[in-house]
């Protein structure tokens, strides 16, 4: 994959977030291209989750600019960015536990056809959002449990639903915050294969602690330490970078 020709769907330029005197994210540049899985790794507190929140619009920037699909969205709120085609999944489960799996996904899909004024129509009979939810659940492998209450799912299934809800909005750019957290080996493999299947049509940013998984699927890796990027490159380049080895992977490779 030639990076120069790749089409960037999302760019962050000199992203900075300060909390008083603490600089959580310091002048970070990041590009997410179509057809690439871009992993961001770093120790705890390196600013990975903050970076995701800056891109998604959940936190306001201290300085820097964010571009989404070629337009400047620095001033746009999170829901507006979501409408332009940005999907985010959370590190901790943020599903709607009281609702069924189907309704979880349907609500996500409904965000594209909100029609709040049509108060006489039953939302659950909304065909477009219903169909899109069913399709997404089939793709994510949850089609056998669509009528189960989301709170009763196993941990792995909840993680899958988390990603499915993100996909039901049909985003172009996916920001995934530790989608593998707490998953077993089988579930991890399944999720990784799923991410690979999404690669062709999406630009994916993956924040993950599981190094084996990252090196298996990532096309580009950015390494962060204390809020700054120390290096960026292909998995091989990153693996052989002495700075990364001392800072993160440990001396003995």
């Amino acid at each position: 994959m030639t990076q120069d020709q790749a089409k960037y769907l999302m760019r962050g330029v000199k992203l900075t977030k300060r909390w008083g005197g603490l600089v959580a994210v310091n002048e970070v540049d990041i590009d997410l291209a179509l057809g690439q899985i871009h992993a961001v790794i770093g120790t705890n507190g390196a600013g990975k989750s903050t970076l995701i929140n800056l891109l998604s619009g959940e936190l306001p920037l201290s300085s820097g600019t964010v571009e989404l699909l070629g337009s400047d969205v620095t001033e746009k709120s999170q829901p507006m960015r979501a409408h332009l085609g940005l999907g985010k999944s959370y590190q901790r489960n943020t599903i709607f536990p009281e609702l069924t799996v189907l309704e979880n996904c349907r609500l996500s899909a409904q965000s594209r056809i909100q029609k709040p004024w049509h108060f006489w129509q039953d939302g659950q009979r909304c065909k477009v959002s219903h169909q899109r939810a069913i399709q997404t659940l089939e793709k994510t492998g949850l089609s056998t449990v669509i009528h189960r209450q989301a709170g009763l799912l196993s941990h792995g299934q909840k993680r899958q639903l988390e990603v499915a809800m993100c996909l039901a909005t049909e985003p172009k750019v996916l920001l995934l915050d530790e989608p593998l957290a707490g998953m077993g080996a089988d579930e991890t493999d399944r999720m990784l294969n799923f991410l690979i299947s999404l690669r062709a049509d999406h630009a994916i940013m993956l924040v993950e602690h599981d190094m084996d998984a990252v090196f298996k699927v990532a096309d580009v890796i950015t390494v962060m330490v204390n809020g700054s990027v120390i290096t960026k490159g292909s998995p091989d380049e990153v693996r052989n970078n002495p700075e990364v080895q001392s800072a993160y992977l440990g001396e003995s490779e």
Binding site: S56, E58, S77, Q78, P79, M80, A82, H83, G87, K88, Y90, R92, N93, T94, I95, F96, P97, E98, L99, E103, R106, L107, S108, Q110, S111, R112, I113, Q114, K115, P116, W117, H118, F119, W120, Q121, D122, G123, Q124, C126, Q149, G151, L152, H155, K158, M165, C166, A168, T169
Partner: protein, 327 residues
Amino acid sequence: MKKSQLFFLSFLTIVLMALPFLGSEYSVDWMTKTLIYGIFALSLELLVGTTGLVCFGQAAFFGIGAYAVVKISADLITPDAIYLLPISMILAGVFALFVGALSLRTKGVYFIMVTLAFAQMAYYVIHDTPIGGGTDGIYLYNKPSLFGWSISSSVEFYLFTLGCLLFVFILLGLITHSRFGRALTGIRINELRMRAIGYQTYNYKLMAFVISGMIAGLAGYLFAVKDGFVNPELLSWHLSGAVLIMIILGGLGHLRGAFIGAFAFALLEEFFRSEAIFGSFAKYWHLGLGLSIIFCVAFLPRGLFGIPSIWQSKLMGTKNASVEDQE
């Protein structure tokens, strides 16, 4: 779900329609008051039960609806509900838009306090300025008719109130099941996530707030016309608290619960105030009412509406597992 709602509604309609022909003048008056509280409770249920916004200033909208009809009809020769009712509701809605636009920027306990503060502000404006006629309140000398048809007898007014209640019930039933209402449910459970998938949650909450305020204004209008009298107590925080207790008593999350709660609250009040049962102790009816509410909240976590499912699980020997995210 849909079927049980329909059953409840038709059962209610039949019983309530028949009631004025069986009961005395006093009981019709009492029932009218209770139905009005039912409408009032339903308005708050949309905010608390569906959207998860605990509003502690609902009486302000109620009071504004009540004062609007009294003030406006004072200058009219033949006041008619056909425009007075919408005007009262719109005035309450405009105030709700103002309060909501500011208070919805806060969350949790701050939201409760800010809505209370705005309601108290409205209370003192009515209480201490010439607009509201002071502590004594104002009489409504000229009761509005409906299309020229005077709804003067208490049975007629009762039926009119019942019609309003059914209208509100059906309207809120539709709203809570619509795309809008489903999104409100999502906001109650997890607003963060709703923003992440692309909902402008602030606009949704504001819309719900205004609808709720308008329905509370409708209840206030009915209350003023029924009594022919308004006073500042209609805007007091006691009433905001009472309506909150009604929906909690009935069981949050169901429109029927709000109605049942209003009914139960009125019954309990009547019971503890009755001198025939409690003798001179009836003076302290607040105490009995308060204790019984504490009892209900302690033993019926899902309100009166949850009683059938408790019985069911006792009879069947199964325990209804409460569903929570185990993270």
